[in-house]
């Protein structure tokens, strides 16, 4: 059946042909060229974010229990999931770059001038919305970076006007948690897209209302319609940018840190590159001056951007006729680039954790029959080396101590149980394996014996290298304050040193070789 009558009917009812003609046949000023594809690229990238975002929400779960694992599933289990998340992740950076390039093009061509002030101002709102999208998207994977970047963001908000109120609204609860994640998710997928749609439509409407500004110097040539002349350039530019984006997403996996751990004092949080300048700025305004960096300077920059068409009222569009505007943007650019470079310089990579004696002991403990009964190749629980402890350390520890407690039916109960220290050692070992800490380094036989004693007994009460229990003193640097003689006496029978000591005597549990190894190890901890 011919399609013509159907389209004729559709046009008679909707007038779509006139609408299409209005969209495509607009006459453009002569000389409009490649400079004017930046807005279309931005619009296209926003479309990519929308489409990939919709598909991501089909697999993402916005709860602290499942967010991280659902993102990991997208990356590792979902067909094309790595590419999908890569497009969304790198697309965010591409959009920030495209928005900045578009803004600079508008500034360079003086396109913000009368009568396009409102177009410019809606553009500034769009830039802020894009940054808000980036910020709210941060938290969703619920990994270390997400948690700590959001902690910093909420605390930045506290230093502004009505700080506690704003921070409370951003946090959604008394602490960062499920309520925070849900409201940031809600903002990212409902509130911000709705605002974005309103301002994109306004921006495009205003652009059409006043027409494209065209080259700085009017050219004497016939004006051409948007389609096919400019639309072809737009399409080519969009295809090129999309190809680069797909290439980036295919070559580099979008990063996913470990599960958020609010107690981790070793993770060095650093934001994405486009917020790094602001993050760095916070270092230079100590104490009561902090609001200058959090609210003052960013507020002035945004205010200046908004007011630009009213501040620069000169009629000329050539940049050399607007030295103050050129100087202002140059200063802003230099400032942002310099702060970003300083931020990068001050960002030590989060290194894989090193092998500690406890982790070494864990490597031995996981070879225990009680573990390998299930956790082996082809076993019901999967090999330990392949496991990711997605639950919190308490859960893992409880499971290691007695698997039946937390996974009923997982196995027949075996004789005996692990000490708390052994369980902690296993967790420590699994963390190293998960963080790709590399092969176990070679140590002396005596050090190996000491590691096993630390894991079996000491770590049940003491902290070692940031891991272990905290019901007794931290032993990480015990050698600074106690010598070998004292340690030997104390470990053998603490009541001989201090009658009120609460630590049990270990002399009866340890052989002479084991005691010697342990004392030598502890005395060397300085």
């Amino acid at each position: 059946m011919a399609l013509g009558p159907v389209l004729d009917w559709l046009d008679s009812r909707t007038g779509y042909r006139a609408g299409l003609s209005h969209l495509l046949d607009e006459k453009l000023p002569p000389g409009v060229g490649w400079w004017f594809v930046t807005g279309s690229i931005l619009l296209f990238l926003l479309g990519v974010q929308f489409v990939t975002g919709v598909v991501l929400t089909m697999f993402y779960v916005p709860s602290p229990d499942h967010a991280h694992e659902s993102v990991r599933y997208i990356m590792e289990g979902l067909p094309f999931g790595r590419l999908l998340r890569g497009l969304h992740f790198f697309g965010a950076s591409f959009i920030v770059v495209a928005a900045l390039v578009h803004m600079l093009r508008v500034v360079l061509f003086g396109s913000y001038k009368k009568p396009r002030e409102a177009t410019w101002m809606t553009g500034v709102v769009l830039l802020l919305l894009i940054l808000a999208f980036a910020l709210s998207g941060y938290l969703l994977p619920w990994d270390q970076k997400a948690y700590w970047a959001t902690t910093v963001t909420i605390n930045v908000a506290r230093s502004g006007p009505f700080g506690e109120l704003v921070a409370g609204v951003l946090r959604g609860g008394e602490a960062l948690g499920a309520l925070t994640l849900l409201r940031w998710y809600s903002a990212h997928v409902f509130l911000l897209p709705a605002c974005l749609a309103v301002f994109v439509i306004s921006h495009v409407y205003l652009m059409r209302r006043h027409g494209i500004s065209g080259p700085v110097e009017p050219q004497d040539a016939p004006s051409l319609p948007f389609h096919p002349y400019q639309s072809a350039r737009d399409t080519l530019a969009m295809a090129f940018v999309f190809a680069v984006l797909v290439g980036a997403a295919a070559m580099f996996p979008a990063p996913l840190d470990e599960l958020a751990d609010p107690t981790d004092a070793t993770f060095v949080p650093r934001p994405e590159w486009y917020f790094l300048s602001l993050f760095q700025l916070l270092k230079y305004f100590p104490g009561p001056l902090e609001p200058i960096a959090t609210v003052g300077i960013p507020g002035l920059v945004v205010g200046w951007l908004f007011a630009l068409p009213f501040i620069d009222r000169t009629p000329g569009r050539r940049l050399r006729d607007r030295p103050l505007v050129a100087a202002g943007f140059a200063a802003l650019g230099v400032g942002v680039v310099a702060l970003t470079a300083l931020g990068l310089r001050d960002s030590p990579p989060n290194q894989a954790p090193k092998w500690t004696p406890l982790a070494r002991a864990g490597a031995t403990f996981v070879q225990d029959a009680r573990c390998t009964a299930c956790h082996r190749e082809g076993g019901g629980g999967g090999a330990i080396q392949d496991l990711r402890p997605v639950r919190d350390p308490e859960w893992v520890r409880a499971h290691v101590r007695d698997p039946e407690v937390l996974v009923p039916g997982s196995r027949q109960p075996l004789e005996g149980s692990m000490t708390l220290g052994q369980a902690q050692s296993v967790v420590s070992y699994m963390r190293r394996v998960r963080a790709r800490a590399g092969a176990l380094p070679t140590i002396s036989a005596q050090e190996g014996v000491a590691a096993l004693i630390l894991g079996r007994y000491c770590a049940s009460c003491h902290m070692l290298d940031g891991e272990g229990a905290s019901s007794a003193p931290d032993l990480t640097t015990v050698g600074r304050t106690r010598d070998a003689t004292w340690l030997r006496e104390w470990i053998t029978d603490p009541s001989l040193v201090d009658p009120a000591a609460s630590m049990p005597a270990f002399g009866a549990f340890l052989s002479e070789d084991e005691l010697e190894a342990l004392v030598a190890h502890l005395a060397a901890r300085k």
């Binding site: 104490g287 940031g466 003193p473």
Partner: protein, 128 residues
């Protein structure tokens, strides 16, 4: 009002403080910050969660213990004890505190928050 109340109220709710055991005073080395992890139960919307919160205990005399929050007062990152420098150090913007929680360097605007403590039968209790 309904929308505003639903959006605003959870974030502004005051949490109920509770006394939690944090170890034995006899196990603390005098004037040496010891990191202790407290487990604080709270309602987080639909879920009841247990926050793991690190507190530094410093035994200042035979009967007194100071408890310092590990949250940097600058922007909320987690500080840790640097035994070589004898300071509490924040990894984010380089804030540094001495063992009393006072700022010694960097951008933090205030000392580390201190929690109330009490000693009962040798047990250190901290109000968080």
């Amino acid at each position: 009002m309904v929308l505003g109340g639903a959006v605003l109220s959870p974030g502004l709710a005051k949490r109920v403080e509770q006394w939690l055991p944090a170890g034995k005073i006899g196990d603390l080395v005098p004037n040496q910050p010891t990191a202790v992890m407290l487990r604080v139960t709270r309602q987080d919307g639909y879920a009841q969660v247990v926050d793991r919160r690190t507190v530094f205990l410093i035994r200042t005399s035979e009967t007194q213990v100071t408890a310092l929050d590990s949250t940097c007062t600058h922007l909320g990152c987690r500080v840790s004890w640097d035994g070589n420098a004898n300071e509490l150090v924040c990894p984010c913007h380089g804030g540094r505190y001495d063992r009393t929680g006072a700022v010694t360097a960097g951008p933090p605007p205030a000392p580390l928050a201190a929690f109330d403590t009490q000693i009962t039968d040798g047990d250190v209790l901290v109000r968080v």
